[in-house]
Amino acid sequence: MKLKVNNIHKFYGEGLSRVEVLKGIDCEINEGEICVLLGPSGSGKSTLLNIIGGIESADEGCVDIGDSCTDKMTEKELTSYRRNNLGFVFQFYNLVPNLTVKENIEVCAYLAKDPLDINELLKTLGLYEHRDKLPSQLSGGQQQRCAIGRALVKNPSVLLCDEPTGALDYNTSKEILALIQRVNRKYHNTIIIVTHNDAIKGMANRVLRLHDGKILKNIVNDTQTEASDLEW
């Protein structure tokens, strides 16, 4: 799915404390691209991701998704947009603690019309042996793999990853990034990764560098570095 972000403005607070966190963002992300949103804390990258994900609304502007635009969507349509098109991966995995690994993935499989085979996916993620364990019995990397599995099982056209390696060590981070790259190659979904880790930009097709609510740079990489070769 191609995403077109049109002149997004977003404000937080009211009166004197009103702050503009996105100051007119324009960009396009093509279908099947890995797009890395780079920037320091407070640059507005997570807010932009949330707006693209239909979780937050923009105060001005909109995101074009195929034929429709997010600002004209009702709550029901936004839910359906997330349900049919999006997968989310969070920094702290956000797994449901009282569900097993398999059941956490089933949470999203339940929503999909044509979900991927869960056992196959578990094998791909290297979690098949751990499928009946609770999240608390897994390492951080395993938990993030489970979270990626949960996002992927719907076979979403867009995968939104908010700091997916933010809570992981160096080796596990690379393992997760490699998994994301493999997923992109296998399923051709558009993937947006929010990160403040500059090194990750190498694996992206497109890098959007944000600063103070604006896009400073919109770089298209002609070649992508293998995630396993990334260094920081």
Partner: protein, 763 residues
């Protein structure tokens, strides 16, 4: 320096005001009702014991067909027993419905206390006064009967064409409960009353309606065994002395005196247990709320513990909301209990029982049960739960790893649908909350069973008597009147031991003619060693065909052992049915002996031959009267039970939502709509509530049955357990409707959970 953490307590109370107000309401109601009830109970108990001393309540009475002999009177005197003539005249059909026993002026025993208009409460027994001397045209009337019949001070009461002016309302110590007959199951304040006249006034009434009652009082304090022995000795002396005794009733067996004390004796512990159970439930609800708070604030606790706060400081900190709420409820509850709530309880006692003005004073026991017990219960349960929860190391709190011992493993579930497994996981996750919810639903339902089931139960009881009673009129005879028609019956009271209540109870042996038309539907025992017992006796003593039963004929001092041959569905009597000839043989009477006549038409039996005349309506009329005196309390029970159910459902289901609010937010992000999220999280609660409602029904029915067994053990008869299907349906409907009201609210709460909550950076 004041602990700065304390500032959080009021903020916590404010931010979770709904829950704390709900819990405050439950504790407040429990304490208010408990305190009012206990103050009333204490007051009644104190007043009764003082009345015993001041008004010289009898230790027993007997009635004879002829005045007792001088030797008998001397025997009593020699044995240090005060024997007093307590003669009365029976006014049947007063105002076409009531029976009044009019006593001759009493000065030496069972002296009535004056009750001035509406003055039912006093601060000391010194405020009591006896009925002033009556003129010969004045009458002192039992207050409860007078009130039930709309009689006022100064009104005229006409007895046998003679007018008496009501000069006083009184409480008779030997008739605190108005049982017309000691065999009655229910009091009857409308159709049965007591009155007293001056000697001259008494003499104005015809002499042939007089019953010779002698009341006695032991002049010294005796133990229970000594009392029992002396009572037996008195009866033996009367029989051996050739006195024509028609009735002998020691105080303990006299329901009119003992019922209130026994009733209170059973009510007290029942209410205390109920208060305690509800408090334990509330304590666990607090524990669940506080535990959730600890889990939510794990990293803060970890930080504070790392900074040097001790475990006990943390325990005390998290205890504060619980203790503040309980303390406020205890203070306000006791104030309301003593002032506002005492009224309906006083009304309940004063409408049903005729007692001296109640001496209400500070009740140490009420304070203990309604203040100390709640606070201690909350403290003990919450300190145990909290100290266990907070015993983990600061590091574990910082890591939010709040599991004790080994890491928890997932319970393996069968390969059911995802939704089913998800809901089971929610139920497993919230076991504690759901368990408390289950107990709450059970207890509130039990109150509802009582509130909604008592009416149908009593109707069923009356209906059973009505259907099985084969005659309209019964004449208990003093002497055989000649041929006046009707069927001849021998009635013989005997005693048997009632193991459950650890006491002897009186049952009736009924001898009817072999070819009786009236009793033609009932089997009769025609064998000396076999019994056909009536169904109430079978149920009360839990007797089956083939069991043995030993009875004692106290008048003839004989023991008999029988085998139960059959059970007759005869709800109107508690005893056994024989052929008359066999029963007469058993009790050493002539073959044609009889002491009662039964008939479906009124018989022309001269009054002089009648000891007692009982009609069908006499036997049936009391139940509704009894129910009306419980009206306020039953309504209170119903409202209270629904309130408990609503509050517990609100708090506990809310806890489940709060605990899962983050995950509900995730679900929304993933694309679940609000209905689907509700199906995941609220449906688990719905299933639990519905299962709890249905499972607790039989448990409530069993508990109610056990309560009925206890009540039946206190009375001479037996009230069969009966709850119509309608009541079960009502309980389920009330429970389900209460839940769905709460569920609507919860749905709104789920709707309000924002997706952005899932995106906040958290560890």
């Amino acid at each position: 320096m004041r602990n700065p953490l304390n500032n959080r307590t009021f903020r916590e109370l404010k931010s979770n005001a709904g829950k704390y107000i709900g819990l405050l309401c439950i504790i407040l109601t429990v304490i208010t009702i408990g305190s009012a009830f206990m103050v009333c109970l204490d007051g009644t108990s104190y007043s009764l014991s003082k009345s015993d001393e001041i008004n010289l309540t009898e230790d027993g009475y007997f009635e004879t067909f002829f005045p007792v002999k001088a030797e008998t009177t001397d025997w009593f005197k020699d044995n240090n027993i005060r024997l007093v003539e307590n003669f009365y005249k029976t006014i049947d059909n007063y105002d076409d419905h009531a029976t009044i026993l009019v006593f001759n002026n009493r000065t030496q025993i069972d002296i009535p206390i004056l009750i001035e208009n509406g003055n039912y409460v006093v601060t000391s027994e010194n405020d009591w006064s006896h009925v002033p001397a009556l003129k010969n045209d004045e009458i002192a009337l039992d207050r409860v009967f007078a009130k039930a019949n709309g009689l006022n001070f100064g009104d005229t009461v006409t007895l046998y064409g003679i007018s008496y002016k009501i000069a006083a309302f009184t409480a008779f110590p030997d008739y605190t409960s108005l049982f017309k007959s000691n065999k009655d199951l229910l009091m009857n304040t409308t159709d049965f009353g007591i009155a007293m006249l001056s000697e001259e006034g008494y003499d104005r009434l015809p002499g042939d309606i007089q019953t010779l009652r002698y009341s006695y009082r032991f002049e010294k304090q005796l133990s229970k065994t000594e009392t029992d022995d002396l009572n037996k000795e008195i009866l033996n002396r009367l029989v051996s002395g050739g006195e024509a005794v028609s009735e002998f009733l020691p105080r303990e067996s006299n329901q009119s005196i003992s019922f209130l004390a026994t009733d209170m004796g059973k009510d007290g512990p029942t209410v205390e247990i109920f208060i305690f159970l509800l408090l334990v439930i509330v304590a666990f609800v607090f524990a669940i709320i506080v535990t959730n708070m600890v889990e939510k604030e794990a990293s803060v606790i970890g930080t504070l513990r790392s900074l040097g706060f001790t475990r006990w400081e943390m325990v005390l900190h998290y205890l504060r909301p619980t203790i503040i709420v309980t303390f406020v409820a205890a203070i306000v509850g006791n104030l309301l209990g003593y002032t506002v709530m005492i009224k309906p309880f006083l009304d309940m006692y004063t409408t049903s029982y005729c007692i001296p003005p109640m001496v209400i004073s500070f009740s140490f026991k009420a304070i203990l049960v309604t203040t100390v017990v709640p606070i201690v219960t909350m403290l003990v349960i919450n300190v145990l739960v909290l100290s266990n929860k907070l015993s983990l190391s600061p590091l574990k709190f910082l890591r939010k790893d709040l599991k004790h011992g080994k890491q928890k493993k997932a319970m393996k579930l069968p390969d059911w649908s995802f939704l089913t497994r998800f809901r089971i996981r929610v139920i497993l996750q919230n076991m504690g909350s759901y368990l408390i919810l289950f107990i709450g639903i059970f207890l509130s339902g039990l109150l509802l069973v009582f509130g909604l089931g008592l009416g149908p139960l009593m109707d069923n009881y009356v209906d059973g008597i009505d259907k099985s009673l084969p005659y309209e009129y019964q004449y208990v005879l003093k002497a055989v009147p000649g041929d006046v028609g009707g069927e001849k019956v021998t009635m013989q009271p005997v005693e048997t031991h009632f193991d459950f209540a650890k006491k002897d109870i009186e049952i009736s042996f009924i001898g009817v003619d072999e070819d009786s038309e009236i009793f033609s539907n009932f089997k009769k025992s025609d064998n000396k060693s076999e019994l056909v017992i009536t169904s109430p006796l079978a149920k009360k003593l839990k007797l089956k065909i083939g069991d043995t039963l030993t009875v004692t004929d106290t008048y003839n001092k004989k023991d008999y052992t029988f085998t139960v041959k059959d059970i007759a569905e005869y709800d109107a009597a508690m005893g056994a049915i024989f052929t008359r000839s066999l029963l007469n043989e058993l009790i050493d009477k002539e073959p044609d002996y009889y002491n009662s006549l039964v008939s479906n038409t009124k018989l022309d039996v001269p009054d002089a031959y009648i000891a007692k005349f009982i009609t069908r309506s006499d036997m049936l009329g009391a139940a509704k009267q009894m129910l009306s005196s419980f009206d306020v309390i039953i309504k209170l029970f119903n409202v209270f039970s629904v309130a408990i159910a609503l509050i517990l459902m609100y708090i506990l289901t809310n806890t489940v939502i709060e605990k899962n609010s983050l995950y509900i937010s995730y679900m929304k992000v993933f694309g679940y709509d609000e209905k689907e999220v509700s199906r995941l999280y609220l449906r688990a609660t719905t299933i639990t509530v519905m299962v709890a409602l249905f499972i607790s029904l039989p448990l409530q029915a069993l508990s109610f049955k056990a309560m009925m067994d206890v009540i039946s053990s206190m009375i001479d008869g037996y009230i069969s357990f009966y709850i119509p299907i309608k009541v079960y349906v009502e309980i389920i409907l009330i429970g389900a409707l209460s839940y769905f009201a709460i569920n609507r609210f919860n749905y709104g709460k789920v709707k309000k959970i924002k997706m952005s909550d899932a995106l906040k950076t958290r560890e």
